[in-house]
Symmetry: D2
Subunit: 251 residues, 4 copies
């Protein structure tokens, strides 16, 4: 049985661990200037990812640098369509002009969360991505409105899971306000990912198994501990024979 999964991290957000992350992940989502970043940091991040053999994608956000794109904002479908086409178009042009192929789109922060549950927003994002390039992969939580919208518009979806987060019995993430939101042991996280790949389930906080599909695993890099956690997860996955590779044409 040939297991394969993508490891993804956010890049170009000024967090300071980009180089270490690039040695760990297979995909990088690069800030497009609306919650962080600018044309020069995009170009630099794309170049670093290319040198490290890491696939790149855009990471569009609400226009909200003050809150790092983490506040939910009301927006019309038309304006969201324009917001996403603008950022994906800018990123893709810059990646292509410097010889790198844009591979995916992952909405950032509050936009990702809202699009996961609201079809109107999900549909605007999927239409925007399809209008830019029908061959891009859209990152979305499995079973979300965003995943459904992507499929409705003929886009490939990479269903995203979190290695360091606990899950509720309904498959949602345990709220960060609870003490058991996070996993701290990399071995346990890796074992859990392998079970997601082999058995397509995850043990939830109440001990029941919940169905889950994992095409790409989000890895955090905002602290030295997070980077070391991610490195350990990768090492364990490789020991178990899991291939770490970006999603795409050959996924």
């Amino acid at each position: 049985m040939n297991l394969r999964v993508d490891l993804n991290a956010d890049l170009g957000e000024g967090a300071g661990h980009d180089d270490e992350l690039l040695a760990i992940v297979s995909s990088a989502s690069i800030a497009c200037g609306f919650h962080a970043g600018d044309p020069a940091t995009i170009a630099a991040s794309v170049a670093s990812a290319r040198a490290a053999g890491v696939a790149v994608g855009s990471h569009p956000s609400f226009a909200d640098r003050e809150n790092f794109g983490r506040s939910e904002i009301e927006i019309s479908s038309d304006n969201l369509f324009a917001l996403v086409v603008y950022q994906v178009g800018a990123f893709n042009a810059l990646a292509t002009a410097t010889g790198s192929r844009p591979n995916h789109v992952k909405p950032h922060g509050a936009l990702y969360n809202m699009a996961a549950r609201e079809m109107k927003l999900a549909d605007a994002i999927a239409r925007a991505v399809a209008a830019c390039d029908r061959s891009l992969v859209l990152f979305a939580p499995g079973g979300s409105e965003l995943a459904r919208a992507a499929e409705a518009h003929g886009l490939r979806v990479a269903r995203e899971v979190f290695a360091d987060r606990n899950y509720m019995p309904d498959g949602s993430l345990v709220s960060r306000s609870r003490p058991d939101a996070l996993l701290h042991d990399a071995d346990e996280a890796a074992a859990r990912v392998i079970r997601m790949l082999r058995e397509r389930v995850v043990r939830s906080v109440d001990g029941t198994d919940v169905p889950i599909e994992a095409d790409t695993i989000c890895v955090h890099g905002d602290t030295p501990d997070a980077v070391s956690f991610a490195r350990n997860v990768r090492a364990r996955l490789e020991e178990e024979g899991v291939t770490i590779a970006a999603p795409g044409s050959n996924s």
Copy 2:
């Protein structure tokens, strides 16, 4: 003798005369978010231009909303390349996604002025435009470094003149600090444009004729007087049988 020229104006900069200008010009350069505008205003401006039968292009700028892109800023070639690819790529994606064809690129404000005289900057801009789409027309002052760089990269150039500005004997514009910088009579301005088209010269402030090539005439729309001046210039050109049309494939 079949005379033809483009009339261009800047759009989507919040000046409040966009609809009146669209009834006058054949090309609109739309702010890309770096000196003014945002994805929603770009989409709205592109839609208005389309409804008015006006060709559209991007109007990239230094990242300087505070000074409206009017301050000269030092920038490396690589960062300028990234800056222009980002803005042109974002604009083109948004125009195309909404069914409008991006036709040209006109650098804004201080970026336009610096690129006219510094080959290093001109070359970075021309490379950026060519990397985005080799069929775009680049607006540049005739004889400028920017025009030279565009031609070196195989781009078509539309040589831009100003109907409401006086010219020095060396072909440069009379500085706005001088009292004779501006023309105030639309008939005189139109007569001057027709002479540029027919005889390829302009009468300079010292009374000598200076060679000049005019493919596109910049029209201002920041005051009601400017709009009315532009309308009068257009009317006079049409009375003289000049065809007003955007540059491009069929120019």
Copy 3:
């Protein structure tokens, strides 16, 4: 009242009058290799059109060099979609790579006729064009299924008429098998076009006026007489103050 219309001709089909036609028309539809032409003739035709200031578009056809694309062929929607994306994609890449902007698509011969009346084929063509570039103009007979499909997919349509053909009372063309199929007098043809533009009607063979919309006029160039007829029509239109220009962003 400002009248404007496009004059279009087919190019790169080996007919031998391309240079004369380029001095007459504002748009050229270039054979893409399936009924005539090959990559080298496309490149040469695009370059000639550019030098003459004539807009270019692709002229996709059934794969049928033997009958010059004039035989009706049964084809599935999927295969027609692939056929058109292939030809439009090839043409657009070649035009753009040589610095010319692809402006329109005009299906050729039997494909044009079938798509005018069969929605299944019309829809496949419109989807194919929109998948290649949503800003292309699709040439189609006014009121045809092809025009309807183009609008359903958000494409701009240029409604095509024929200056040298007689019309039936229902707005269709008089069959070439009838002796009164063709007009032979250029003055009469021009007068008829001007009436189409001013009054939006054409006098049919039974003397009644039929509503018609004319955005682009097809001009033939397969004989010296046809070229001279087209030249005379253009001259008469210009004398009447009609602007001859390609459709597109600024139409």
Copy 4:
């Protein structure tokens, strides 16, 4: 030490083993209609490759269906540029329109061989590929003129080797006219590939080691024996821990 290589095969050429090959390779080069194939077979091959998780690229050729693109043909730089832009443009449009990302370009047959040794042709091909999409990977023999031209135009190169061919002491292939041209033992072929990856040499026919770089291995599928040979090579590489994956952003 983490070894990785691409396995590539030609597809859509009517050879009849496409499905078996898709279970073996990580990249498929698809005939573009000039030596084999047509729009419908391209669309079908791209869809099959996508379902099998195999990356796709175009396989442009001389226009020579009679000799399957295997005859050397004299051609000007300009005509070769047009020939390649046409085929790559057509393929990329069709792949993208159906949701698949074009990943590479591999010139076919005589065109590949001529471009390996003649800089004028190599340069025209590399310019054509860069004009279509700067992020495409160009397949070329390591050290060839084609590899050099690709790098000069900023393209990524995948250096191609042959698992079933013997090498001369100068690094060229043993001519097919010699009895020792081919390897017949899959284990031996796999061991040789692993040595190429680990030690960057290949044992030539005279027993000396020749430097070689292998990014992608060409696999043949024209006979059942060839397919079975390829399957065995892949199995052996996987047993040795070599990752089989398409070149590209994350290679």
